[in-house]
């Protein structure tokens, strides 16, 4: 599992950086301008596809899920506030949640979180981030910090971000006490927050 984190690559950041002008794109999405869908795909399609492949590990399925992701964003764009946020975090959250929902349904795991994921996909929760948050140097710092985390701390973040596990589920998977897992999660998140904390204006 740690090796996966260690193999994190940079190329997507270049895509993530192209988020200037999202405000205009969001306005066109809201006005149901079909060309905005193509433009949104040009900006975030590769990123969404990469993230979904990372989670479902099947490119064919990922193609379907990318379509669902973009359609979902399109259908919900009316609630997006371009004054407050960028599209990227929202698209990423929707893509992740679609992919995790799919993996869960495949594993016949409880889909208890589906409703919850749906709610958390509100752009108000996901997109309240300034365009500057994915600056390449900041994310390089983040990756470095990630790689420096002890293996157990990397593992719990992997399970939360890419497998959608709750802390009790992680404890079961890793055969560790819940309290230990919670400590790993909090410690890991604190380390990462320190690395990119200043990149995100409050």
């Amino acid at each position: 599992m740690g090796a996966v984190i260690l193999s994190l690559l940079f190329p997507l950041l270049a895509i993530a950086l192209r988020i200037a002008g999202d405000g205009d794109l969001a306005r066109r999405l809201k006005s149901r301008d079909q060309s905005a869908m193509g433009e949104m795909y040009d900006r975030y399609g590769r990123l969404a596809f990469s993230l979904i492949v990372r989670i479902v590990r099947n490119e064919g399925i990922a193609e379907d899920l990318v379509q669902e992701t973009f359609l979902r964003v399109w259908n919900r764009s009316a609630s997006f506030d371009e004054e407050k946020g960028a599209l990227a975090p929202w698209v990423l959250a929707v893509a992740r949640n679609r992919a995790i929902d799919y993996v869960r349904s495949l594993e016949a795991r409880q889909t208890r979180n589906s409703m919850e994921l749906d709610k958390l996909e509100r752009p108000g929760v996901c997109a309240v981030v300034d365009d500057a948050f994915l600056q390449v140097d900041r994310v390089r710092l983040l990756k470095t910090a990630f790689d420096k985390l002890p293996p157990n701390q990397r593992m719990v973040l992997e399970l939360a971000y890419f497998e959608g596990m709750s802390q009790p589920e992680m404890a079961e998977r890793m055969k560790q006490p819940l309290g230990t897992v919670k400590t790993w999660v909090r410690t890991a998140l604190r380390s990462l927050r320190e690395e990119i904390g200043e990149a995100v204006p409050a």
């Binding site: 079909q34 795909y41 993230l51 959608g164």
Partner: protein, 237 residues
Amino acid sequence: MNCDDLADVFELYALGVLEAEERGEIEAHLGRGCAACTPRLRRAAALNAAILAVVPDTAPPRGLRRRVVSLVGSGRSAWGWTFASGSVAAALLIALLWFSVRDRELESQLARERANLTRVQQAFAFLNEPETKQVIFGKGEPRGNVFVNPRTGVLLIASNLPPLPVGKTYELWVIPKGGAPKPAGLFQSDREGTAIYIQSGALDLAATGAVAVTVEPDAGSAQPTTTPIIVAPVAGF
């Protein structure tokens, strides 16, 4: 919990992986408009996005852009994405079995079609197994095919299933020769009474007398409580 304790798990909250109790506490707290926590939630969403963005790069296939755009195009074709992800045969099978959802919201349709496609692909894989044997049942209704495989289990493809009353489900049974039926999973049909269901696992063909389906309460039953609507004798394998 105080602000610091709550904010320590905002990332998990935004990811939707927090347990109900902590989640409720955070929502109540944010609902009161805490000035200190609102920017912290914003930071948590930013950190989440940054972590999600740093995954290995995988190039999507060329045609994907066209399919995404055509989802909202005026001349969109419901077939575009159906054919996109599976073999033509799989798509045709879906069309025959499932394609009755044109009038529904496209988004939920997409999700359902994908689930169906997955099931159809699993069914194809099952059918392609050399050891798979076919049992035809039902001259009247319902009718269909049961396929059995000693390594991979039971595949049921049925049509004309009777509509389920509210709170009921179909339950599959594997009935050993001279033994009591064993529960083999619950499934639903689509609106047209069609179902594809796979019960995975090893199956002792020589010891199996029949595969059956009954209507049971939602949670399923340990033993059949109604007369079977399908009985497919498994013989001669």
